[in-house]
Amino acid sequence: MEGDELELSQLFNAAYQNYAGFVPRSPDYWRWSCLNRPNVDRKGILVVLCGAKTVGYAVVGKKGNIWELCYNPEYDGKIILSTILTWSLNYIQDIGGEIALFNAPTKDRLFREVCSEFGFVEKPPPHIFLNILDFPEFISELLNLNCRKLESIDEEFSINVTGSPSFYEKKINVKIKNGTFSVNSKNNCDSRVTVEGDVRLIVSCLLGTQGILRAIFFQKIKVKPFWKCYSISKLFSLIKINDPWFSPGSDYG
């Protein structure tokens, strides 16, 4: 088992590459979160091979928590997942466990199909709650990610955040011109378009859990001048998180 951490962590990152909401695995992190977890025995770790290649694995705790599992989608996922669940359920019963549970991405239909065949039912997970501490940095990183789309915008925005704790930036200035951008929190910056809203609502729009146009329409977010709503919508489309989030149980700690 020791020595497999690199391959297993790479498999995890590849299997969930289209998702966000978790810690990207490194061998050190995988070793801590799975291999050295107090309620995981070495015998509770299954590695599924196809020839010499690792195509799936599961880490099962002593009380039935399947802390982490994944399959390589380039192979027959149904066979891999069925193998993992059959083994896991047998293992849990052998060690006297009473319950089997694990986290999986909601959008993965294969998990739903195979779990249904195995008699699993679904329940909602604990929620993730989030707070942005550094707005300019957060927005800069997302704009960097979408730098190719900046050509379509030529504008200076000011995002005024209300209802935030004293140490928060109250004003975030975003300037986009000629395909480049700058973000700062200077109070003396003038901008052509201002957006103002409660901090929680602004964060929700950035996280994609609230629509910006809806928030503007219901006047929870104010835009000046109002006819610049479309520009605001374009800006938020660049700094909004779009990918589905998935939290594996092993990230809970």
């Binding site: 590459q17 810690v23 990207p24 977890r37 359920l89 991405p105 679904e122 707070n131």
Partner: protein, 257 residues
Amino acid sequence: MNLVHKAFPGFMNGNFWTWKYLLNPNFDPSLVVVAEKDGKVVGCNHWLPRDFKISSNLHLNASLGGDIVVAPEHRGQGIGKGLLKFLRDSKAFEEKGVILTYMFAEPELSKRLYRSAVGYVSAPDSTTVYIKYLKPRLLKEKFISINAALQSRADLQEEIKNLTLRMMFRLRGAPTFSVVLSSNQVDFIEGNLENPDVIIEGNFTLFSSAVEGMLGFTSLVKALLTGKLSIKKGKLKIFKLVKVLKIFRKAVTEVTV
């Protein structure tokens, strides 16, 4: 650790805390906050620095909040909120380049503490928990609790007076079990039941939510009418069944409180 162990008995023993924090490759002792009163530790909060993926191809410097604890005798005094705010107010996160903080919590705790204290919002989460009960012991304990509540509460005794119903449950996600309500008490039986009055099939978590009060009464009736919970035998006893489940819900609420 004593404080944490008292707050999370059976879960946070020394071994687990040591693994979760001291052995964590990202552990930073300067991100553990302690509240003291008269020289005694009365609360603590732990933060773990993490590389966190916020998009499929972007990860940021973040910090996970975990295991906030306040000694029971000191709760309701704002210590929890103070612990949550402390590191942010002190700029410790800013110095370490932390861009966002996050935590996992049940929605009720979030409403009471995190949102009101420091403005946390729900993150977009597309995670499902898949669960399957392999043995009925946990179910049995639940019904033992319900029975105890029925015996001790006069209002529930009045409601179940002369009420009898033999129910068998074949639910996905749990082994078959039966519940018999008779002589003003509830008995749990593992497996099948001879001559049940009703046989209920469907989704275990939906049934569990109905009993534990997380699913409203109207939603329960809707689930029965739309087939998400279906009555395979004894359809005419549906009203009696709903009444019994309502009583169980009241008993569970009492147990929970």
